[in-house]
């Protein structure tokens, strides 16, 4: 496999989409829907949010117009790869009554494998995190069937978003692994081109079909500088050093109560989070009681029934639910899967209706824990 980067123009990106589709993928990428950039079906670059950017601050998201024709001039919106791989509202299995009074189950059919065009490095890292949840030991059928055969064209971020902190989490602004092709977009008054690097044999095969010219040293350096610059411009940060331990030591911190005064337990943060995996199941039958299926839906630790056992919810208070969420993301996830359950995408900050900021809350907890051990 050669890994030499090549230079593409917009027409070549269109050709690439065609080649990938021809390999049997459902092509999915950023599109504008209801005032936000989400991932949806894509057939050409014309479907992309061309010339669009976004403004993101805690509790606020807004699309803006750019003064150029950039294809990828925005960052992540509310949707990630999660709805496509850890799909919600789909059957885990289906079954039917048999003549002898018993029943039989069958596996639902696997959908066409998705190709993500323009997925961001943080979201690619989030797929890696969910792989550890669903394909470690037991294999989850819903996830595994969708994950297998995924093709990813990651787009590195040259302009970090307002709530991003991927640099702190080691997931961006440049993807380091897990992609088939990595693209960086370069645009200014004079030029508009893309540097594309293969990350797998399949990615190499696709790029080879485009007949693109290899990147010059100058072009490679330009991209390198853009990405270093993007990392430097990251507006938010999270000091992860000693954080898992500090949060564990904060179980009885008064800070949780203080957060609970603001948090509405709406579960938005868990729904937009690309790594949150909690789900519930619903068992359904047809009216005759002959056909049944178990449908899985996303659930959230912010829902009161989430921790229900006979006798009531184990976490009736909002403080306990926020504590469960943040502690899981930044502390206990490390014990469970060897890394944090956060990629620094900033979605939970942007989409929280009251603008609660995980980086601020974690830092406050860590500072208080540090102080407590120093007295």
């Amino acid at each position: 496999m050669t890994t030499a980067p090549v230079i593409l123009d917009r027409a070549a990106i269109d050709a690439m989409i065609g080649v990938i589709e021809g390999r049997g993928h459902r092509v999915v990428g950023p599109v504008v829907r209801s005032g936000a950039v989400v991932l949806g079906d894509l057939s050409s670059t014309a479907d992309l949010p061309v010339g669009i950017s976004d403004e993101q601050t805690p509790g606020r998201y807004r699309l803006t117009a750019r003064d150029d024709e950039a294809l990828f001039g925005y960052v992540v919106g509310p949707s990630s790869a999660k709805p496509f791989l850890h799909a919600t509202g789909v059957p885990v299995w289906q079954g039917e009554r048999t003549a002898d009074g018993s029943f039989a189950t069958r596996k639902p059919e696997a959908p066409t494998p998705v190709a993500f065009i323009g997925i961001r490095p943080c979201d690619l890292a989030a797929i890696g995190i969910q792989d550890k949840v669903f394909l470690n030991g037991y294999r989850d059928g819903v996830y595994g069937d969708r994950r297998e055969g995924v093709f990813s064209v990651v787009v590195n971020c040259v302009e970090p978003g307002g709530t991003c902190f991927c640099t702190s989490m080691g997931t961006g602004p440049r993807a380091s692994k897990g992609y088939d092709i990595a693209v960086t977009e370069v645009i200014d008054d004079e030029e508009h081109w893309f540097l594309a690097e293969p990350g797998s044999d399949a990615g190499q095969e696709v790029l080879a079909q485009l007949g693109a010219a290899p990147a010059s040293d100058d072009e490679r350096v330009r991209v390198e500088n853009l990405l270093v610059d993007a990392a430097d411009r990251m507006g938010r940060g999270l000091d992860t050093e000693g954080l898992p331990e500090a949060i564990k030591a904060s179980m009885e911190s008064p800070r949780w109560d203080e957060i609970a005064k603001r948090c509405m337990a709406c579960a938005n943060c868990t729904l937009v989070c690309p790594t949150c995996f909690c789900a519930t199941v619903e068992d359904e039958t047809d009216l005759a009681g002959l056909e049944a299926q178990r449908v899985r839906r996303w659930d959230s630790c912010f829902n009161e029934e989430f921790s229900y056992i006979h006798g009531g919810s184990l976490r009736p208070s909002t403080y306990a639910r926020y504590r469960q969420w943040l502690t899981h993301k930044l502390s206990t996830w490390v014990d469970q899967f060897g890394e944090m359950g956060c990629v620094g995408c900033g979605r939970c900050i942007t989409w929280c209706p009251v603008g609660i900021d995980i980086t601020v809350e974690a830092a406050a907890l860590a500072a208080a824990a540090k102080e407590a051990t120093h007295v």
């Binding site: 595994g144 399949a202 068992d283």
Partner: protein, 280 residues
Amino acid sequence: MQTIPESTQIDPMAPVPCKVTAQWDVTEDTFGLRLAAPAGYSFQPGQFNMLYQFGVGEVAISISGDPAYPESLVHTIRGVGAVTKSLRNLRAGDVVGMRGPFGNSWPVEQAVGHDVVLVAGGIGLAPLRPALLHVLNNRNDYGRVVLLYGTRTPRDILFQQELQEWRGRFDMDVLVAVDAAGRDWHGSVGVVTKLIGRAPFDPHNAVAMVCGPEIMMRFTGRELVTRGIQPSMVYLSMERNMKCAVGFCGHCQFGSAFVCKNGPVFTYDDIGDLLDIREV
């Protein structure tokens, strides 16, 4: 392109149909359900199954049968929710869905050579029964054997007949306490922790296995440690909401643990601190 080897194992989420071989009442709200286990099925004391009533739903139920006879798969179930109430209507010959066994187990191997102290609260006696049966099946491997059992009223006592038999044995001690009783009850009244001081065992050579409501386990764990058992020798079986039993749904988390796969059995050493914190 990502390729993931297709696992050879059967889908852990799909229930397997099992014939009901018996259903009987245990107490007013509790019943027994015996299934013919699938070929090759075996379990460890303390493990649980997911029982599925066609189209109605699924629920985690600990196995309460004798691990020496895994083909006769006994569950003791409180009919308090929609699914468990529906399971109560099953009769011999009906079919129910089952997947399992899941979870870790009571330390019956590590307990060899030690005194064994079982402390049960309410329905918590059901998951302890396989451990006790294993110990009694291999009675010479263990030191003193004590069962402390607390429940609400004399009418809520599980396994009445068996308890009588256990009480009658010279090689084990059985102490029962109820929260409330009429004049016809001649046993202890009060919480099960009160029985710990009276129980004959050597704390320095004992292994305790505890199952009951969380608050009962918090106080029981503390009391057993106060009496001198090592915190690492006190085992507790936790209850959490469970939807998947294999670490996918997130519901059962307790601190860093997925109760379904890292538990349900934990040592007091590992979880004693968490038990003292509210709403974990």
